[in-house]
Every structure is written in structure tokens, then in C-alpha cells.
């Protein structure tokens, strides 16, 4: 292993992020589909549960978070599987730039293309369920801090299942149990605002989770990609 220049690492992150963002921009409809799925799942709950505004206001943060979890699962196959299928992921793994940096760039692009739009759409969902302004803000802030961690957990799962027979159901089984804390803290942030407590504790934990994910995620995901090519 040769020592890597920190500037090289940043360049690799920026390059991979730019490449994947460009690819995402070239297939806008797929990105839009994830957003439509998010709103669709959210809209199903009042139909299935009850249109009672009081009840909906109480369960809205949980619904929004579950929908965000499912939507983030839906977009995961695009993270590595397409590059795996056409062979470019193998070239990236062989490239002189550190794989962890390339993976970090890819995950950043994935979050910008799939996670961030969900965060921006969340206030709309909050309005649908009649959330107060403060609760809605806590929900959106929670998603902003929590979705990057979801992207990292998903990236590890997506890399581990590359080229396996089981496909997306296996990915859900791997990722969803690990995402439980994010769901609890994220939905808890909005809920504690709704009952008059501050969201600070929940948001701090989500932020801490995001930092841990960004520190350890690149190495774990890069290792997972390497394992796929052994």
C-alpha cells in the first residue's frame, strides 16, 4: 500500500460524486420515481388507518420515517449494481485512488440525488398530516441528519449483496434491522416536539450517528466492495 496524498483523496471523492450525480441527472425519471413512491406510501396510511386528523397528526412522524426508509431501500440497487453489471465498478476497485474515497463520493452523490429530495419533500408530507410548524421542522431536520446514515448502512448492504441471487428482499432484511435506531431517534425527534419537549437530544444522537457513519462507513463499504470481487 502506498501512502495517499489527502488532496488525492478529496479529488477522488469529488470525481466519484460528480460522475454519479451526472449519471443521476441523465436518468431523472428514476430519481423522481423514488419521490413519487415516498409520497404514495405516505398517502396510503390515511386510507388504511383512518382520516381522523388527531390520530394522523400523532402518527405522522413515524409514517414519514417508515416511508423514507422504504424509499431509501428502493434506490439502493442503483448505488453499485449498475456499475457492477457493466464492469465499471471493478475498474473503480482497481483504480489507484483509494476505494474508500471513491465509495464515499458515490454515497455522497446517492444521498444528494435520493436522500436530499426526500428531506425537501418531507415538509409537504407534514402539511398533509397537519403537523405544526415546529414539529414539521423537527421532522425535516431529523431526516436531514438521519438519511446520510441510512445511505451508509444501505451502501454496506448493497455492496454485500452484489451479484447474489436473493436480490432486494435480502437487502431489506440486512439493512432494516440495522436502521432501527435511526427510525426511533428520527421519529422521536418530531414526536418529542409535538408533546412539548425539545428535539435536541434526538437530533444530537442522529448527528452523532451520521458522524460515526461517515467515519467508518467508507472503510466498511469499501471492504464490502472488495469482498464482492474476490
Amino acid at each position: 500500500m502506498h501512502a495517499t496524498d489527502p488532496i488525492d483523496v478529496l479529488r477522488a471523492v469529488r470525481w466519484a460524486c460528480g460522475r454519479d450525480l451526472l449519471l443521476a441527472m441523465r436518468s431523472k425519471s428514476e430519481v423522481a420515481l423514488v419521490l413519487v413512491f415516498f409520497i404514495l406510501v405516505i398517502s396510503l396510511f390515511p386510507l388504511g388507518v383512518s382520516p381522523d386528523p388527531k390520530l394522523l397528526e400523532r402518527i405522522a412522524p413515524g409514517i414519514a420515517w417508515v416511508a423514507a426508509l422504504l424509499a431509501s431501500l428502493l434506490s439502493l440497487p442503483r448505488l453499485f449494481a449498475i456499475d457492477h453489471a457493466d464492469g465499471s465498478l471493478e475498474q473503480l476497485a482497481l483504480a489507484p485512488a483509494p476505494l474508500a474515497a471513491i465509495v464515499a463520493g458515490k454515497v455522497l452523490a446517492h444521498w444528494l440525488a435520493n436522500g436530499l429530495p426526500l428531506v425537501l419533500l418531507a415538509p409537504l408530507a407534514g402539511v398533509q398530516f397537519g403537523l405544526s410548524l415546529e414539529t414539521n421542522a423537527a421532522l425535516t431536520l431529523g431526516l436531514l441528519l438521519g438519511t446520510p446514515t441510512l445511505s451508509w448502512l444501505g451502501a454496506i448492504g448493497a455492496a454485500l449483496t452484489l451479484g447474489t441471487r436473493a436480490g432486494s428482499a435480502l437487502l431489506a432484511l440486512l439493512v432494516l434491522p440495522l436502521a432501527v435506531p435511526i427510525l426511533i431517534f428520527g421519529a422521536g425527534a418530531a414526536e418529542s416536539v409535538a408533546v412539548g419537549l425539545g428535539a435536541q437530544a434526538h437530533l444530537s444522537l442522529l448527528g452523532a450517528g451520521m458522524i460515526v457513519a461517515w467515519v467508518f462507513g467508507p472503510f466498511a463499504a469499501a471492504l464490502a466492495v472488495r469482498i464482492a470481487y474476490e
Partner: protein, 250 residues
């Protein structure tokens, strides 16, 4: 590796570990059976009836050891997984593979017996209590590990991929436990709490410990037995397995 004393790395080779495991299985199996018999006898005939819960409390002699083993087995499994990733030893990965079904079984048993205990005691089969929920998630972690293993055809890749998954899982287990605990206490006061149960009588505690050791030895015996099958399956191409099979045709 040191030249003096027992070289433990000698047993990291399947060819040397296979006969060792074969010699150990009867010992641990017998110990598990004897302890389970003693524990069940004490649990059903000697331990006093609980003055609050009546006879139904006796299920804890299965339930608590199962819950302990489910958690402990995941830690041991993750330890083997770390060893297999670090030293790239086949035996470690095979041990992890052999432990997973037993751990999942104990997680399931603890949930199932907990439901049967909860019905007469709490009046419901299931509550979203912190311990119940985190054991359920632990069961899902086991199932994910087993499913990922079986989805990958190449055994070496399956070893490494599932090892990484187990390590990510073991980092997450305490986070999951505390988040679930906190989630529950935020939602509602602890309407049912296991810590508020009356202090256990001496016999009950001793019986539970005996059953815990029975579960422990059972896990070791079953894992060693299973790892022997895994060795035979995965090393079928080697000369020593061929010679072994020829010597004892079944």
C-alpha cells in the same frame, strides 16, 4: 507462533480440528443433557411456587437461559467473524456459520416462551417492551446473516461478506438495545417491568444458573457437531476427507 506449549493455531486447520471436535461433542453433549435433567427436575419439582405468578413463572427456567444464549452467541459469532476477517482462517468462518442457527433458535425460543409467559402474567402474548423488541431485532440480525450466507455461492466470499455483516451488526446491537429501551420509556411508563419482579428465591436462581449452563454446553456441542458437517462439506475435495469417507462408508 511460539514453539513451546500447545500451538493453538494447529487447530485452525480443518483436518486437525475435525477429530478434536468429534472427541469434544460427546462430553459437552452429555454435560448439557445431565445439567438440563437436573435443572428441569429442580425447576418443576423442587423450586417453590411463586406467590404472585403461580406455576406459570417456571417457564423462566427455559426463557432466561435462552435469552442469555441468544445474545451471547451473537457476540461469540461476531468474535469468530472478526478472527476470520483478520487472519483469514477458514475454521473461524466455519465456527461462525455453525453458531448462527443455534443463536437464531435461542432467540426464537426466548420470544416464544416469553409470549407464553406473558399471556397469564401480563394478560397479553406480546407487548412492545424494550427487551422483547430488541430480541426480535436480534432474531432478524441472525436471519439476515444466515440469508446472506446462503445467497452467495462461493464459500470464501460468503465467509467474508457475512463476517462483515456480523461485525456491523455487533456494533449496532448495543445501540439498538438502548434506542429501543429509550423509545419505550419515552412513549409510556413501564407498565410491565421485569426488574420489578419480586426478588428470586435461592432455589430459583440456582436452577436458572444450572439451566443456563445446560444451554451453554448444548450450544457448544451442537456447534461443534454442525461444524464437523460443514468441514466435510467444504473440504470434500481434500485427500483426508476422501480417505475418511472411504474408511467409514455410510
Amino acid at each position: 507462533m511460539t514453539k513451546t506449549g500447545i500451538s493453538w493455531f494447529r487447530f485452525s486447520s480443518p483436518a486437525t480440528f475435525y477429530p478434536l471436535a468429534g472427541r469434544l461433542v460427546p462430553w459437552f453433549g452429555t454435560a448439557a443433557a445431565v445439567l438440563a435433567l437436573v435443572g428441569l427436575y429442580l425447576g418443576f419439582f423442587v423450586a417453590p411456587t411463586d406467590y404472585q405468578q403461580g406455576e406459570s413463572y417456571r417457564i423462566i427456567f427455559i426463557h432466561v437461559p435462552a435469552a442469555w444464549m441468544a445474545m451471547f452467541t451473537y457476540l461469540v459469532m461476531a468474535g469468530w467473524c472478526a478472527a476470520s476477517l483478520i487472519w483469514n482462517t477458514r475454521m473461524s468462518a466455519m465456527m461462525a456459520q455453525a453458531l448462527a442457527p443455534t443463536g437464531a433458535m435461542f432467540a426464537f425460543v426466548s420470544l416464544w416462551t416469553g409470549a407464553f409467559w406473558g399471556r397469564p402474567t401480563w394478560g397479553t402474548y406480546w407487548v412492545w417492551d424494550a427487551r422483547l423488541t430488541s430480541t426480535l431485532i436480534l432474531l432478524f440480525l441472525y436471519l439476515g446473516y444466515i440469508a446472506l450466507r446462503s445467497a452467495i455461492d462461493d464459500p470464501r466470499r460468503a465467509d467474508r461478506a457475512s463476517a462483515l455483516l456480523a461485525l456491523v451488526g455487533v456494533v449496532n446491537v448495543p445501540i439498538i438495545y438502548f434506542s429501543v429501551k429509550w423509545w419505550n420509556t419515552l412513549h409510556q411508563g413501564a407498565s410491565v417491568s421485569m426488574t420489578a419482579a419480586p426478588k428470586m428465591a435461592q432455589t430459583m436462581l440456582v436452577t436458572m444458573l444450572i439451566m443456563a449452563f445446560a444451554a451453554w454446553f448444548y450450544t457448544i456441542a451442537v456447534a461443534l457437531h454442525r461444524v464437523r458437517s460443514i468441514i466435510l462439506e467444504r473440504e470434500a475435495h481434500t485427500d483426508w476427507v476422501r480417505a475418511l469417507v472411504q474408511r467409514s462408508p455410510q
